[in-house]
Symmetry: C2
Subunit: 350 residues, 2 copies
């Protein structure tokens, strides 16, 4: 893996493809928006996040997985677009729940339009996702269409379960967490809708319901977990301009990331007391000094290194599961792209 | 109409039926809830509003309309339950947007569980509504099922359009409104999902797609508008214990009700200045004294009487449209129930 990850062409190729998919999906998302009123208070705000360039990873996974299993792009695009629309709906609501100020390099909807308008815009995006999904499943035979629709709802519930648990841990000041709790959390919060559903539904459509989906869950979980951990880590060590969100935002929110869970486990003495005090404060009560102190502890106690190594271990497992998950897929550029995502995430650590 | 409205048996009969439907739908809503975790932070909060007795008007309209057009109860119940679940999802989010404290006689979800948990619970209820709806449409032929599903999404968007406009009028301090603007608002905010969709989808299923749905829209709009105006009026003149929400809550929020729109049009001199000052304040800045002053003006300028008479006029039109809308429906207890709803709303004015 390391030798591939050292190949700068790989990173460029993955990012080129993600950018292409992103452009295509962004256009399709905006085309799907209803052309009605009120623009000022609903349909305008609804267009904002979909119009901002995002990673488009979910759409790319669905398209590539589907084509690798034999579907053509036309049968997949609507599904990929529906997933991205739901993702945008979640982002809008998460930004309200977290009190975030920035998203994709610009103010959040709640920051620029107020809480109520943002809430409605998130609801609206979820409904448009449902419209797009239904239209996309119409050409499928009814049983397969039902399955794609049913799994979409299940995936949305899994995401909410994770989101609700994460918020609950913060609001109820839960402290006794271990890495397994964090993995269980991101399995729900991130993996279902970021990796597992896009991969599975692509394979389902490509194989007309015959592919063995169990190995895809295992691959999707490990890959998605590494992806989420990387995202958490970028929030701690990244550059605000390229990251697009507030650096250390998770620390202000008190998010129980793997890094924080590790630190809670290993910090001792007066550091421990500082940490407990930090956890019990509200976001507004967490001063920049306090957040900096916690961030420095993460270096001193090896929590950043622990996180990086943990994710690298998960990625190695993901690489193994990849071959099993796509054993029946067609060789070609789609399979190559999917295979390159593992070293791509690896490369982004450094 | 008046003679029927004076019949106390009619009110009792309508309320008995609504109570029966409410019990049945409440049980079905709770049965549809996923049996997973986190109960504490998601599935517990999601059960709270559906477990509180509500009006069940939407479900009763769908069941009665469907049976009057020939469907059996089993084919309708899931649809009725999905509508009520979506209604509960909207209530949860509206209570966040409005900053409301009470719902159905108990604290709102956001008041008892915090904004983030309430937001997730609302999202979750909408997803369960979608699950229930899909299951309910599976026995229908595919074209009819697609239509029921598509109209459900359209109806949800209409509701959001109204909700977003109402919030926009408040946040942007919109003052130049006339009764037609208010009617347009509640057409979107209330009528689509409270009366039009339940009636239409019932007729659609009962007639296997052959019923003329246009007159049902006209009846649904007039009946729904009268219903919403009555609800607004109860917020001004009702009794907190039986009403279940905060009396004068709409005035604290600055909601542009028909009564307020009338007052804005007719108030003169210093009263007008007081009103403009009231409109421009935030909810927190509206003192009980100020709200009382505005409420008194509504009596003095005849705005309460205007509202009552306006709604009575709409109900008379609804009564005419009723016969056209249900011309092809079967006589029997379902049609009788639907017919009695018009004088029932009338009776509740007094």
């Amino acid at each position: 893996m390391t030798s591939v990850a050292d190949d700068p062409d790989l990173v460029v190729a993955v990012e080129d493809r993600l950018r292409d998919v992103g452009r295509q999906v962004r256009r399709a998302m905006l085309d799907a928006m209803p052309d009605g009123e009120p623009v000022q208070w609903l349909y305008g705000p609804m267009r904002e996040y979909p119009a901002r360039p995002g990673k488009a990873l979910r759409a790319a996974l669905c398209l590539s997985s589907g084509r690798a299993f034999g579907a053509d792009s036309a049968a997949l695009l609507g599904i990929a677009v529906a997933i991205e629309l739901l993702h945008n709906a979640f982002l809008v609501h998460d930004d309200i729940a977290d009190g975030s100020e920035m998203r994709r390099g610009r103010p959040t909807l709640s920051a620029s339009h107020g809480l109520a308008a943002a809430l409605n815009a998130g609801d609206g995006l979820a409904i448009v996702a449902s419209q797009v999904l239904r239209k996309a499943t119409r050409p499928l035979d009814r049983e397969l269409a039902d399955r794609v629709l049913a799994e979409f709802d299940t995936m949305a519930l899994r995401t909410l379960e994770g989101q609700a648990t994460e918020i609950g841990w913060q609001s109820d000041h839960v402290e006794d967490l271990v890495p397994a709790d964090y993995l269980e959390l991101i399995m729900h919060k991130t993996c279902w809708y970021t990796t597992i559903y896009p991969l599975r539904v692509g394979a389902l459509i490509g194989s007309a319901g015959t592919a063995d989906l169990a190995p895809l869950i295992r691959f999707g979980f490990h890959f998605g977990a590494a992806f989420q951990i990387r995202d958490d880590l970028l929030n701690l060590i990244g550059d605000e301009r390229t990251y697009g969100k507030e650096i250390l935002g998770d620390l202000y929110e008190g998010k129980r990331t793997l890094t924080l869970v590790h630190l809670l486990d290993v910090a001792r003495g007066s550091d421990r007391a500082v940490l407990r005090d930090y956890l019990r404060r509200s976001r507004a009560e967490r001063s920049p000094e306090l957040v900096r102190t916690v961030r420095t502890m993460m270096d001193d106690y090896g929590s950043i290194d622990f996180t990086r190594e943990y994710a690298e271990g998960i990625l190695l497992v993901a690489e193994d599961y990849f071959e099993e998950a796509f054993a029946d897929a067609r060789p070609g550029p789609d399979l190559d792209f999917l295979r390159s995502l593992v070293p791509y995430v690896w490369a982004r650590w450094r």
